[in-house]
Symmetry: C2
Subunit: 268 residues, 2 copies
């Protein structure tokens, strides 16, 4: 059982995972960051020792969680191999990096990817966050999933290819929907209407995502083929020339989804 963990990184992922581990009774040994102050401020809150050099990582930890920005992980892995004397499991927390960025350098490797957008703005309940596990062998996958189960009720096994697909799907479901919220706020603010008027509707739409395929719950003029309303929206959009192509393309995509997918789902 994994009882001692070090974390490389002091950003949003590290800030949320470190206290969850401590809460689950896991000892956090080191927090590593190139910036010692950043390492220290997180380390203090979880009773760990901050380090700013890879060579200072305590070999006492069974697992090093690499919670660094995606781009930095390959470079960090090769540095860790060169300078470190760390012999435990090395696992990263990235959705987009394959496991191979670690297997190139180490024997016992894994992925420990929390599928959530952590930020200063909110505190999602970590017990509901899906943790996506992958490892260089089955025994290790079991160990990492056991660790994950101590902090969440939602553990999934995904290989690197599946994780890449989940990451892509999350861009649609979250990054793109957030952009739709942004465009709607622009429209409202330009007309002097407080954007919070849409808050309950936005939350209800998101909360409805569940058992049924979201396409089956699609509402609005595009899915109804209500061209009268679409025309009146296009007229209002004359004030927002950048938004017209977005409105048209997504409306077309909704109509296309209806004819392409809905029948198949209904029949299955």
């Amino acid at each position: 059982m994994i009882e001692k963990v070090s974390i490389a990184g002091s950003g949003n992922v590290a800030i949320h995972i470190a206290p969850a581990l401590v809460h689950a009774g896991v000892k956090v040994v080191n927090i590593y960051s190139r910036n010692l102050q950043h390492a220290a401020s997180l380390a203090i809150s979880v009773g760990a020792t901050p380090v700013d050099q890879i060579s200072l990582l305590d070999d006492n930890a069974q697992l090093l969680l690499v919670a660094l920005p995606d781009k930095v992980i390959p470079e960090f892995a090769s540095e860790l191999k060169q300078r470190g004397n760390f012999n435990g499991i090395v696992a990263h927390t990235s959705g987009s990096q394959p496991l191979s960025v670690l297997t190139d350098h180490f024997i016992s490797t894994g992925v420990f990817y929390p599928l959530q957008s952590f930020s200063r703005f909110s505190q999602p309940d970590i017990k509901e966050v899906p943790f996506c596990i992958e490892a260089s062998n089955n025994e290790l996958a079991k160990e990492l999933s056991e660790l994950a189960r101590r902090i969440t009720g939602n553990v999934r096994f995904l290989n690197s290819q599946q994780r890449a697909i989940v990451h892509l799907a999350a861009v649609f479901a979250c990054n793109f929907s957030n952009h739709m919220y942004a465009l709607s706020a622009d429209i409202l603010e330009k007309e002097g209407i407080k954007a919070d008027i849409l808050q309950p509707l936005i939350r209800e739409t998101a909360n409805r995502v569940g058992e049924l395929h979201p396409g089956m719950m699609q509402t609005g003029p595009a899915v109804r083929g209500d061209f009268q309303t679409i025309d009146s929206h296009l007229k209002l959009l004359e004030k927002f020339p950048e938004l017209t192509p977005v409105y048209l393309l997504i409306s077309k995509s909704i109509a296309g989804w209806e004819s392409r997918v809905k029948d198949r789902i209904t029949k299955s």
Copy 2:
């Protein structure tokens, strides 16, 4: 004070508003539907009398709420004028129909528009639903807002032009974001991954909408200018040819928003 209300319609809006009125101590007099069975099943649950003919509407009600599909409202209004002997206030519950569809026929008219997507799939808390009020005179606007305040904590005054803008913004924030959920579910299901893996992330993204402009909380490769990830996503999307134009256009729109709007908001 409005104490007696009749409702034309037995669809999702009527089904949610009628019991909320009863709960607030308002007497629901009649439920009208062309289909008497539909009228009856709602009427029974709120202690009202079902009617399937306009001429049967009891003149005893002070307000007739027209909760019919948007398209049908103009026709219903002219029929009500011709055949009805109803002398109270006539108000509709539509986001997209202007007040003028009623003022053309009646003296005391209004709009009583709940900005929420009601469905069989969920039970949003009506106390948080924004009710958008408009009326043919100030006294009436006050009366309708007082009625709304008995069922919700969120009452707004919007004229017909503003309500059309809100309706347009809701298409972006809700219809379009729901379509993004649908596309992400398609991507996951094609790869054999259960779509519920994204549920916590979708909810967190929606729940974060609040004080800050959503554009300020944008995450993902497009806002980071991370072309390496965008390229890898486009490669994965080769299996989903219909989704590539959507991915590209929204990514471009996110990047454009950053350069166009973010500076302005930050400075203000």
